[in-house]
């Protein structure tokens, strides 16, 4: 097996997790902190939100590095998807496949996401529209309200033994469980 074939296998958690810690550490060594959701605010500032709300009147130039990081994320996703994949089947558990089939999803785990809800097709249905537009609004609003997302609170904050981050992560799970167990079943049935 050559190197490209080797990295084309899905990576196990014990490879990915430590590598994420390396990414966080590299950013600290560069004098920055690993936190992606603040980019959403920076984009608001660049788009001129400071004219309407003082909160966005900040010097965005200090955040350019983070926007560049996010641009890298886009490129990384492109590279991995086009050059480092062995197939498009996600290795989710049989139990998850069964749960999703019970909700009427045709091919769970085929591709990264269910196109009928989260692709362009999704925008033509009420459930897809809610998942994409309201889902996005909640992510943007919630991460800024809580002062961080998975990178800022769950990875960086917990690694720095921050109690506020632990409380935020508890919140992430309360919200995620509510959506998964109470809201998605309704949306799948619409």
């Amino acid at each position: 097996m050559n190197l490209i074939e080797y990295v084309s296998q899905p990576w196990p958690w014990y490879v990915a997790g430590p590598l994420i810690a390396v990414v966080m550490t590299l950013l600290l060594i560069f004098g920055k902190k690993f936190g992606i959701s603040s980019n959403l605010e920076t984009i608001c500032t660049i788009a001129g939100a400071g004219k309407f709300v003082d909160y966005f009147k900040v010097d965005w130039k200090k955040q350019v590095w983070n926007l560049v990081f996010v641009l890298g994320c886009v490129i990384g996703g492109y590279i991995a998807q086009n050059f480092l994949m062995s197939g498009d089947q996600i290795a989710i558990s049989d139990a998850t496949v069964d749960s999703l089939k019970a909700y009427g999803l045709a091919q769970p785990g085929q591709g990264y996401l269910p196109d009928q809800f989260l692709g362009w097709e999704g925008l033509t249905s009420m459930s897809g529209l809610i998942m994409m537009v309201f889902g996005g609004l909640f992510v943007g609003f919630g991460t800024r309200y809580a002062g961080g997302c998975t990178s800022g609170h769950a990875i960086s904050g917990l690694s720095n033994l921050q109690l506020p981050s632990l409380i935020a992560v508890v919140g992430f799970f309360i919200g995620g469980l509510i959506t998964t167990h109470f809201i998605l079943p309704i949306l799948f049935a619409l």
Binding site: W13, Y14, G17, P18, L19, A21, T25, G31, I36, C44, Y55, V68, G72, C73, G76, G77, Y78, I79, A80, Q81, I92, A95, T96, S99, L100, P108, G109, Y112, L113, P114, L118, W120, G135, G136, L137, F138, V139, G140, F141, G142, R144, Y145, A146, G147, C149, S151, H153, S156, G157, L158, N160, L161, P164, G171, F172, G175, G176, I178, T179, T180
Partner: protein
Amino acid sequence: MKFIKYLLVGIVFGIILTKAEVTSWYRIFEMFNFQSFHMYGVIGSAVGLGILSIALIKKSNIHSTEGVPISIKPKEGGVLRLLIGGTIFGLGWAMTGACPGPMFIILGQGYSAFIVVILSAIVGAFLYGLMKKRLPH
């Protein structure tokens, strides 16, 4: 040129999350159904090594590449903002299957419709700035 290192680290991050399927909506659904250890393993081992890494940085007093000692600001408290904000984010995380980083990675993977999710998240951040003074913190 000084930004190229952030671009490279971002590219590596995008590849890691794609290859570990962390950017998959199905993986997030599976995690919130407790049907696999995968996501808990990814986050748990990242935090495990992260704790070690930050402890070492603090102990060694090393300087960043910008020449100043590495200092990590503590996260701000306010239980209400953390719990309510965190819960609202969690609602959206399980709907879109994406946190703010993966949104951009998914776009790069070729799911162009995710531009709608990203724009919605930007509007969400704007709404927070607009309403901040009236929200409990």
